[in-house]
Subunit: 272 residues, 2 copies
């Protein structure tokens, strides 16, 4: 397969991932996706902190920030802007679910080109599908960006129409949770609301930054349950991730929204 990605495993261009790795066997690991801008990882303290927290939930000892930074600097040119994906797995194991007494976590860092989004994504907004694939409730893993992502894969396979940018996922109680590859905010007046992620979903770094920084736009940010009808009645719907920052929804089901400055305003505070 000719591919536009390159990678480094455990700091080496020669190493690869063992077929015995528990990341493959069980999805026993976590990951991050972030922008390398001019050779430096954007929001690195937040991303590394989240990586450590996610590893802790599944009891993997997270590699040091220095080691990961060294991997990034080997894989990316000093002035390069591209996308970095960091995968941490529990490493190799013998047969069976019990982790070995001594584990050696494995680091995979993958470089991908920054995809050129259409200008209209930023000027007009994006079309969102509403996924039929529900997110299962699993409080022990909620919020964690782990490698068990089949639900996102099934959800993403629901549409092929290239004019649809992402899909909204609900939990099994019909609460809005996130998009397949983004978090979601709804705006009513001067209040931003993003769903609670204590049952499922991924609590993204950009989501947390919008929660923390929303007041800079004079917005109150609340974390609470949102139903789909409530979302569809919002003044503005925003999706966020670490690659594009924030984008406004242009249409969801039969509902259309006119462009507003909100997504651009959020992208601006994310530069702070």
């Amino acid at each position: 397969m000719a591919h536009s990605q390159s990678f480094i495993v455990n700091g080496s261009f020669e190493q690869t991932v063992s077929p015995l790795d528990r990341g493959l066997a069980y999805g026993d690991g976590v990951f991050r996706t972030l922008i390398m801008r001019n050779g430096m990882p954007e929001c690195w303290p937040q991303h590394y902190q989240k990586l450590v927290a996610d590893c802790a939930v599944i009891k993997i000892v997270c590699p040091s920030a220095e080691l990961l930074m060294s991997d990034l600097q080997q894989l990316f040119m000093p002035d390069e802007t591209a996308i970095a994906k960091i995968i941490i797995t529990r490493g190799e194991g013998e047969r069976g679910y019990a982790p070995p007494a001594v584990t050696s976590p494995v680091r995979v860092v993958i470089k991908s080109k920054v995809r050129a989004y259409p200008d209209s994504y930023f000027s007009e907004g994006v079309n969102l599908h509403v996924c039929k694939t529900p997110l299962a409730s699993q409080p022990l893993l909620a919020g964690v960006k782990h490698l068990n992502r089949l639900e996102n894969v099934l959800a993403r396979m629901e549409w092929t129409d290239p004019s649809i940018m992402d899909g909204i996922m609900l939990d099994d109680h019909d609460q809005v949770i996130e998009c397949t590859a983004a978090n979601i905010f709804v705006c009513f007046g001067d209040t931003l609301i993003t769903p609670k992620l204590d049952q499922c979903g991924i609590a993204g770094v950009t989501r947390q930054r919008v929660i923390d920084l929303g007041h800079l736009l004079g917005l109150t940010v609340n974390v609470e349950n949102i139903t789909l009808p409530k979302l569809l009645s919002a003044d503005v719907v925003i999706i966020t991730n670490s690659i594009y920052g924030a984008l406004q929804a242009k249409s969801i089901l039969q509902i259309d929204w006119s462009p507003t400055p909100l997504a651009a305003d959020i992208r601006k505070i994310l530069q702070v």
Copy 2:
């Protein structure tokens, strides 16, 4: 890591798994574990049929039985008895959840030694833990032996006591579903009951064979919900998988059971 496993990837001893494989990125694949006895896979038609069915759920085109049999014959000696694990992934992908337009599923076959179980497992039975980690309800993936197995990993990490053989997992409605690495049956008089797996759990080949063959022992087999109190009040509790066939529970929580011939009887009909 010195390990007791060997493997073959896509029919080659030289190939390995790409760090870009979606099996690693998302757990985007399925697997089987079975016994190779004297160089031949036990219950191969059932295992292959289940592999095809599981692949179909997540829309992977399952490699042909001939290809997989050729992999097995390369990896195992003609008279060898050992454990085979077959992993099928969707193969490499570009960044993002959407599968590539054209995919090349990847086959990994792993050989492990047959673990020598203590004789007491067969003569007296085994001790089972009751796991706190719940299985999330996801009807779209229920029954499928896919690579998203973090719940099993978390559940298996709940105990280190080597006298405990496996752990019973409940769903989020406190229904008994399975063990971390086995299915479960309870016996009342001449009725065997095994839990419904329409919300979560893995529908194992051995479970299905016991359902199909139980009548040979004069047993009626029902598939229905079982609560933990009901399980604890059973005459006999049996766990099943493709490696050991069937074992009786000796103790669960504070409840003890005396040995009965049931597990041996089930192992006998599984030889048919």
